[in-house]
């Protein structure tokens, strides 16, 4: 009963959020900077962290995040329908890819986890991060699988929220994550990947 209520509550909250987003988008499309400013306030931290976990570098994350919101503001009139957050995350995803393409690491790099061994990788991430332990596992995943992991455990999004941002079915997201975890189980200590950000979220709320 509790879980059912929880789910309904989450669905309602998401619907309200989407409606709010859309009304703000409509105003922004008419030129209201105040409305876009409110959208910005809602998503700036989420997008920044999404980008950060795909780049693991503060400077890069800030640059890419700047690009994301500037582009969103520039192209706001091109947003027609669907979820604004999905649209924004798509811009963010592309911006990260563009960043690595521009940096000429490789043409097919979607985020820092695709970087090759050695200085390329370590030179691009904040040196105080202990990422080597999970790097091998992440490298073995497809981009979308990594994103689901990041979104669920590092960004703390629910399956429904992930589904909305990736424009997939909720069930498909769950299945994908399940497959990912099983494949990772043999490669690294699973808890490290899964619990690291989960703990962060909890700790943050406690502090």
């Amino acid at each position: 009963m509790f879980l059912t209520f929880d789910i309904i509550e989450e669905h309602m909250a998401m619907n309200i959020q989407q409606q709010n987003d859309l009304s703000l988008v409509l105003e922004a499309q008419k030129g209201s900077s105040e409305s876009f400013g409110r959208l910005y306030d809602i998503y700036i931290k989420k997008i920044y962290e999404f980008v950060y976990f795909k780049t693991l570098n503060k400077e890069v994350a800030e640059d890419v995040t700047s690009t994301v919101f500037l582009k969103a503001w520039d192209k706001i009139k091109q947003f027609k329908e669907g979820s604004f957050s999905a649209w924004l995350y798509m811009i963010a995803r592309n911006a990260v890819t563009d960043h690595y393409r521009r940096e000429k690491f490789h043409d097919d790099i979607d985020d820092c986890w695709d970087l090759s061994d050695g200085a390329d990788f370590l030179g691009q991430i904040d040196n105080d991060l202990n990422v080597e332990i999970i790097r091998e596992a992440m490298k073995s995943l497809k981009t979308q699988e990594r994103e689901i992991l990041i979104m669920r455990f590092w960004l703390g999004l629910s399956f429904r929220e992930i589904a909305e941002r990736l424009e997939k079915k909720e069930g498909a997201i769950k299945m994908s994550l399940s497959r990912t975890l099983k494949s990772l189980k043999t490669k690294v200590p699973l808890a490290i990947i899964i619990l690291w950000p989960g703990i962060i979220n909890i700790c943050k709320k406690m502090n």
Binding site: S33, Y40, M206
Partner: protein, 572 residues
């Protein structure tokens, strides 16, 4: 509270674990280890280093960027790169942000936000016209700007008038002086040597002329310097019969002082670290003014006034010096060698090309400004002067881009164009300044108009707004006025420390025939406001006799008009 956190922690942990077990049931067997691991992970938690200051800066950046994009789409003249976050933490970009916000944003926010509408008028406002850039005219209730009677105003700042060569004494801070001060304001700000021609003030010194030039025989009245001309002048209306049917019309008031923008900029500044003081010790900051200068040859100084919402560009004087001339000392021939010849003055076409180039280089938006006009007022004096070789050719020339309202050009109170004025330094052969650029955002409110044409003509024949009085002399020459046209006239209304910039409907009477007398230095137009309460004000006011003097301040004395038989002095 601690219990709540603990509950939250445990609850979230259980949700995470439950989800994990659903996805990977075998993990349940290791629950104690997993829970234990949780506590250890606190030490290795990655900090995403999310920076709230970064978020605030980026927000300001983005909201200013929008205006650039809008302008690009419309005009294609702005192409600034704000994409690199590293840029906007520099002082230079702050200036650019400020400028963009100032010119293209503040008005947008004003018009888009009811907070900027006077409290008492909120229920009555209607946005009449809003263009792509968000600039607008907002309709308020009738009479919303209060009493437009100028005599109710407090003294206007006129300190600079005496320097402008307008011939009006700075210490005559009464109504007429205020009018003249404003009338000369925009165009004279660039350089005092090229002010707008004064209106019909027979003694006034023309812009390009030395103050040693005397207009005619005079004698002192109440002062060693005050002299009365041998010739007097009078206006006579020779135009068609006037039929004034309009009983009311809108008056416009420019919206300015966008405190929100100023606060955003102050927010950026307040994040800076100053070695000698703590800016954070100040609170509720707003930006009132921003100035910067180019440190190069022919460098410019730029001043953004966020209170008045205007942009002024002038010479960074140190970078425009002519050392050889500065070294002339008492050597008159040396000085003369630097004097301009009439052949040095560019044609109107070339002058406009210089001004255009300057505006384009600085990407000034001319959307609300009309075709440029060169201010050749000084030529009137030049043409009248017999000894042209000794005539002092002005070193500065102004090109004015008239402000447009309802499809026509806005005028100053002497009939000259109001708008953006670009100053050209003729010695250096370069554009060197700009004034009069403001966001195009106005409120409008309806006011009752004068419909009695006899009254209007009577005021026009008294010199109109400027209400000039030529005194009496045996010889009286006639200045003929033609059929007027309706236009909007820009003026300032000072009330309780507040300076309102108004655009009011007026009739502009052209001088169709001016006296040939060398003593006559009148203007080319007589302007009469149409707003009823302003007309009453003009009828009630005393008028000064303004004569050219031998140099120094021009004294000013009032004489009674038919409407005000008592002699009142204008001196304060």
């Amino acid at each position: 509270m601690a219990r709540d956190y603990k509950y939250m922690q445990e609850n979230e942990l259980r949700v995470i674990l439950a989800e994990l077990y659903v996805l990977e049931p075998s993990l349940k067997q290791h629950e104690p280890e997993l829970i234990k691991l949780i506590s250890k992970f606190e030490d290795i938690k990655p900090d995403t280093k999310f920076d709230a200051a970064f978020a605030a800066r980026l927000k300001a950046e983005i909201l200013s960027q929008k205006r650039i994009i809008e302008t690009e789409n419309k005009k294609g003249i702005f192409n600034l790169d704000f994409m690199n976050k590293k840029i906007y933490i520099t002082a230079g970009s702050l200036v650019v942000i400020s400028l963009i916000i100032f010119i293209y944003t503040s008005g947008h926010k004003n018009t888009g936000n009811i907070n900027y509408i006077a409290e008492s008028n909120r229920d009555n406002k209607t946005v009449l016209d809003k263009n792509n850039s968000g600039q607008a005219i907002t309709k308020l209730a009738a009479g919303a700007f209060g009493d437009l009677s100028l005599l109710n105003n407090t003294a206007a700042p006129v300190a600079s008038v005496g320097e402008m060569g307008s011939g009006i004494a700075a210490n005559s801070a009464a109504h007429v002086d205020k009018v003249v001060a404003k009338r000369n304001g925009i165009m004279s700000e660039n350089k005092s040597t090229l002010a707008v021609a004064p209106s019909v003030t027979p003694g006034s010194v023309s812009a390009g002329q030395s103050t040693k030039i005397i207009s005619g025989p005079m004698r002192a009245v109440g002062s060693e310097k005050m002299i009365v001309p041998q010739v007097s002048f009078k206006y006579v209306y020779k135009g068609e019969a006037l039929e004034l049917k309009e009983t009311s019309s809108d008056v416009y008031r420019r919206l300015k002082g966008n405190s929100q923008t100023a606060q955003e900029l102050a927010g950026l500044i307040s994040q800076a670290n100053f070695p000698d003081f703590d800016i954070k010790s100040f609170s509720n900051l707003s930006m009132t003014n921003l100035s910067f200068a180019e440190n190069k040859d022919k460098g410019l100084m730029v001043n953004l006034d966020f209170v008045e919402d205007n942009l002024n560009i002038s010479e960074n004087w140190d970078k425009w010096k002519i050392p050889e001339r500065d070294a002339c000392g008492d050597n008159q021939s040396c000085w003369d060698s630097f004097r301009l010849k009439i052949s040095d003055v560019p044609s109107d076409k070339d002058a406009i090309a210089m001004a255009d180039s300057f505006l384009q280089a600085h990407q000034i938006n001319l959307e609300h400004y009309g075709a440029p006009q060169v201010d050749n007022t000084w030529r009137d004096d030049y043409n009248k002067t017999e000894d042209k070789t000794n005539y002092y050719i002005p070193e500065y020339l102004s090109v004015v881009y008239p402000l447009q309202l309802n499809g026509s050009s806005v005028l100053n109170q002497n009939g000259s164009y109001a708008g953006i004025s670009v100053s050209l330094n003729l010695l250096k052969k370069a554009a060197s300044g700009l004034s009069g650029l403001t966001p195009y955002n106005y409120e409008s409110s309806s006011y009752e108009l004068e419909t009695n044409s006899d009254n209007i003509i009577k005021i026009a024949e008294n010199g109109g707004w400027n209400h000039s009085y030529f005194g009496s002399a045996e010889k009286v020459e006639t200045i003929e006025l033609g059929t007027p046209t309706k236009s909007y006239v820009q003026l300032n209304k000072y009330t309780d420390g507040r300076n309102d910039e108004l655009l009011v409907p007026a009739l502009v009477f052209p001088v169709t025939k001016a006296p040939d007398s060398p003593y006559y230095y009148g203007g080319k137009f007589v302007v009469v406001p149409l707003v009823k309460e302003m007309i009453k004000d003009i009828n009630d006011q005393p008028v000064p006799i303004l004569y050219k003097t031998m140099g120094g301040n021009t004294p000013s004395v009032s004489v009674p008009t038919p409407a005000t038989p008592l002699i009142r002095t204008m001196m304060k």
